[in-house]
Symmetry: C2
Subunit: 151 residues, 2 copies
Amino acid sequence: MGTEHGAAPLAERLRAHGLRLTAQRQRVLEAVGALEHATPEAIGARLREQAGPGGAAADTSTVYRTLEVLERLGLVWHTHLGKGAPVYHAAEHPHLHVVCSSCGEISSADPDLLAGAAERLAAELGFTVDVGHVALSGTCRACRERAQEKS
Amino acid sequence: MGTEHGAAPLAERLRAHGLRLTAQRQRVLEAVGALEHATPEAIGARLREQAGPGGAAADTSTVYRTLEVLERLGLVWHTHLGKGAPVYHAAEHPHLHVVCSSCGEISSADPDLLAGAAERLAAELGFTVDVGHVALSGTCRACRERAQEKS
DNA sequence: CTCGTTGCAAAGGATTTGCACAAGT
DNA sequence: ACTTGTGCAAATCCTTTGCAACGAG
């Protein structure tokens, strides 16, 4: 297990941008890594739970502002999976999001799935697909079967 | 040009569901077909413009409710391209949406691009990708070049 | 000490909902 | 007539913003 990227990049990248290392920023980043597919709301909730005796949660607005910063630093990414649900995840393990439009189930898939499509788009339109941001919607096996027996 | 699906399906499908054919529903459907990548707001605006002497626009809430109905009937589809921007399009010509996360430019692409990925997901996860709903985000050629010269 | 950060509360924008009236069948 | 659809306005939800106090460097 590499120690190289444990917690260092945050402090380092913040300094590089003239920004400051704060407890909130560390906590939000930690929360994004812990919760997969984290929404701002979920992150806020988690911080509130973890807020020990010191009462050290982060305000909603701070969560939003922090996520914005972390994204600019390249430490987290976000995707819109559907309606009002931006989902953040650590930038370290890029993966594809696959969402069932029926039950809302979120799965992850191999980014290579889009390699072919990405190449064609690059060649034909000069468009660079951002695999980490992509969300594929469709129907998961369970919902598909449920729909079939229904009709 | 086939007449088979011109305007008939609306009345037909509405009846099949015990719903009624109204002027608003016809107009909204027409607007979605006319405007590509139509947002609810844009649809409302268009209806307001077109509202002739009879003053026959549709209220915002009606637009939303109508789009919901039309989607249930399978006449229109929607995709979330980013933040608060649900985009509707006629279900007739399925296409992929490609959005530049930098400038917001929306392009359409060949659905076949995802054929390979769709097959693999179906085989590996039993997940059926809904190509019409998919939005790929990334960077368009113009923004990519702009970013390069900048740094 | 200086300037970035945070919390709080209020502002915004987009979508949804309740209800009485109008309209389709 | 009966029941669904519509407009209007109020209610929500999510996110952003202004500002004074706080804390990192």
